[in-house]
Amino acid sequence: MAKYAGNWTSVTATAIADTTALTDNNYPYAIQGGTSTQRNVISDIMIGGEASSSTVIILKCARDSTASATLVAGTGGKAPVLLDGSGTAPATAPLGGNSASTDPQRSSTLHLINFSFNAFGGISRWVASPGYEIHVVGNTASLGDLSLSGFTGTGAAATSGQILFETV
């Protein structure tokens, strides 16, 4: 239906443990369904490091055990934009960004993808096979809220990247 790109620029992810509230502008991106019945499928995640010295980054794409509230773009984050300039957005668009009135908490069990690379020149990318994307269903925890955030042990360095997803 509507394909979106959620992207962030020069965001420094800090190490935050599972089931601890993420902090505004300190995680690259989170996605939440626009409605309780909306389904979004994530097909592509691309991350590039921007450190000026060697810094090992550990980012986790995981479902959130506490959903975000009033998720907005934040500093460096961007609200999801339609990939097709002539595309039609659903009545209630999905939410994305890295700032919220209540920030999400990463589930301790529902980790989906591990990203690790050296932010001093490194990049990482995951692409799903069509039909085997990650599903974000509804807008409540844990299925309806997903985040990409710095895991325990990550170094602090800026990254930029994007998450491609589709509201189906």
Binding site: R39, L112, S124, V137
Partner: protein, 120 residues
């Protein structure tokens, strides 16, 4: 009939232009030794039961999890769970259940029914 390999995704970790990541960190995150140096490309599969993305280690000899009920690959955690309860619930089925439940509990005032539309 499609092969399981035709459902594989793709993972890239490119450290060619940087110092890379030590093996201990990469192994702890589910990558093979050496994946943090140079360029690492691998096939992945998405667990049918929990959506976890599994980076396939080609040198692994132990059998990968597979669910005969949904005929899809599953991760080691779901494989262990299935061995205990023999149940199969895919994420897509779970999504249908969540959506249907949300729809049933939705505020009926917000739904425009055909006969209401014709009255206005």
């Amino acid at each position: 009939m499609k092969s399981l390999r035709s459902h594989e995704g793709y993972m890239l970790v490119d450290n060619r232009n940087g110092p890379g990541v030590d093996d201990a960190t990469m192994i702890a995150l589910g990558y093979p030794a050496g994946a943090g140096r140079g360029i690492y490309e691998s096939a992945t599969y998405t667990c049918s039961h929990c959506n976890t993305v599994v980076v396939i280690e080609p040198r692994r000899t132990r059998e990968r999890g597979y669910c005969r009920k949904c005929s899809q690959r599953i991760c080691d955690s779901c494989e262990a769970l299935k061995a205990q309860n023999f149940e199969c619930l895919t994420v897509k089925e779970l999504a249908d259940i969540v959506q249907e439940s949300a729809e049933r509990h939705a505020d009926v005032q917000s739904i425009i029914l055909p006969w209401e539309k014709s009255r206005s």
